[in-house]
Amino acid sequence: MNNRLFLFDLDATITKVEILPALADQVGMAEQIAELTEKTMRGELPFQSSFLMRVEMLKSIPVSKVSEIVARTPLNEKLVSFIAEHKERCYIVTGNLDVWIEELVKKIGLPMTHCYCSAASVENDTLVRVNSVLDKALVVQQFVQPVVAVGDGSNDADMVQMAEVGIGFGGVRPIAYSLMSNATHAVYDEDRLCDFLRMLCE
């Protein structure tokens, strides 16, 4: 067995849908959020500013409510099984907020120590400020073991480029062009992705 570690984007890689647009339904801003998300994933808007805009639109929802909705996001179950089988080697790398995704990460079966994400402060169940927005490329640089990175959006492109094996996963949504130009592999079927990940474990 080798020392490879596995880094996964969360939205539309582990989850079957984008998390923020699903949340936006709650505040009647589904269209605006979906549009911002699409533009960001295609690389037409910088992730950081777009993410902060989207958080601003959603922060009126109580954090506990967001967390509850996010935890119900449908998952790519075979990929979740792979993660469960290889807990020690798997990490989630997402721009999403710690206070929103903690329950979902638990459901996936990983401790928060295996989740790199953006961070926010909460007072009285209300999100008061975003403290940091995750830069995925910086996360990859920290690892001293060879890394396999899996993602779909434009904000995954650097992470995928820096990995030993960088995989674009198009099972949920089209893979961003910038990611395709930096990936070593692309796959559109969850079973095939999991088979390949298992080969990479050997």
Binding site: M180, A183, H185, A186, Y188, D189, R192, D195, F196, M199
Partner: protein, 216 residues
């Protein structure tokens, strides 16, 4: 059917020789592209990898319309490297054996299966038919014809780009697939029926061949 095989279809090149505006694997013969024909023959195999470069998205779209469970491998340096580089990238992290198949090879379905199902490593050879081909001298070893080299000067069979080798014996390379295979020789040769499509005349011959049930 063997399941210890990774099949690597190289579709990264530009296929400029035919003068068509697309990679040669996307050339249509009798209503189906060459890559679609190959995928149909390979429908029962699990680990199919298509190496893409030039017009990657177009190739991915065509392949995905036939089957979704293909692993795509990028050869981003397709302008400067040959099929050897693509084969190496595709076979990496693969199963016990890797089969090299050019995306533009029009091959008799039975012969492709014979190479994949061959018990051990082998090299596909055919009767020389193209201009200035790479040919393969052979030698009988224990009654089986073995390829002993690749040459521009001598050899009774033409190299086809089709071969099955042990994945753990592959070393990185940037030129032809046969450069990766050379250190493994001698290897048994399997005769295959194929049509090369380099000119419009070739193309018309290929269409007739397919229409005629892969018979001349």
């Amino acid at each position: 059917m063997k399941n210890n095989v990774t099949i690597v279809i190289s579709c990264a090149g530009m296929g400029t020789r035919l003068g068509l505006g697309c990679t040669k694997a996307l050339v249509e013969v009798e209503g189906k592209t060459l890559i679609e024909r190959q995928l149909e023959i390979l429908k029962d195999y699990e680990d199919i990898r298509v190496v893409v470069g030039y017009q990657a998205e177009k190739v991915i779209g065509v392949v995905n319309s036939v089957r979704k469970d293909v692993l795509f491998v990028f050869n981003h340096d397709y302008r400067n490297t040959g099929t050897g580089a693509s084969f190496y990238l595709g076979a990496k992290h693969g199963r016990e054996y890797a089969v090299a198949l050019d995306g533009d090879l029009l091959v008799h379905p039975d012969d492709l299966i014979r190479v994949i199902e061959y018990d051990g490593s082998c090299v596909g050879g055919t009767t020389p038919s193209t201009d200035n081909p790479w040919t393969m001298p052979t030698q009988l070893i224990r009654g089986v014809e073995h390829v002993t080299g690749f040459s521009k000067e001598y050899g009774d069979y033409e190299w086809t780009g089709l071969a099955k080798v042990r994945t753990d014996q592959l070393q990185p390379g940037t030129r032809h697939v046969f450069h990766l295979i050379e250190p493994m020789l001698p290897l048994p040769m399997v005769y295959i029926r194929t049509k090369e499509i380099d000119t419009i005349d070739d193309y018309e011959r290929a269409v007739k061949w397919v229409r005629n049930g892969y018979e001349d």
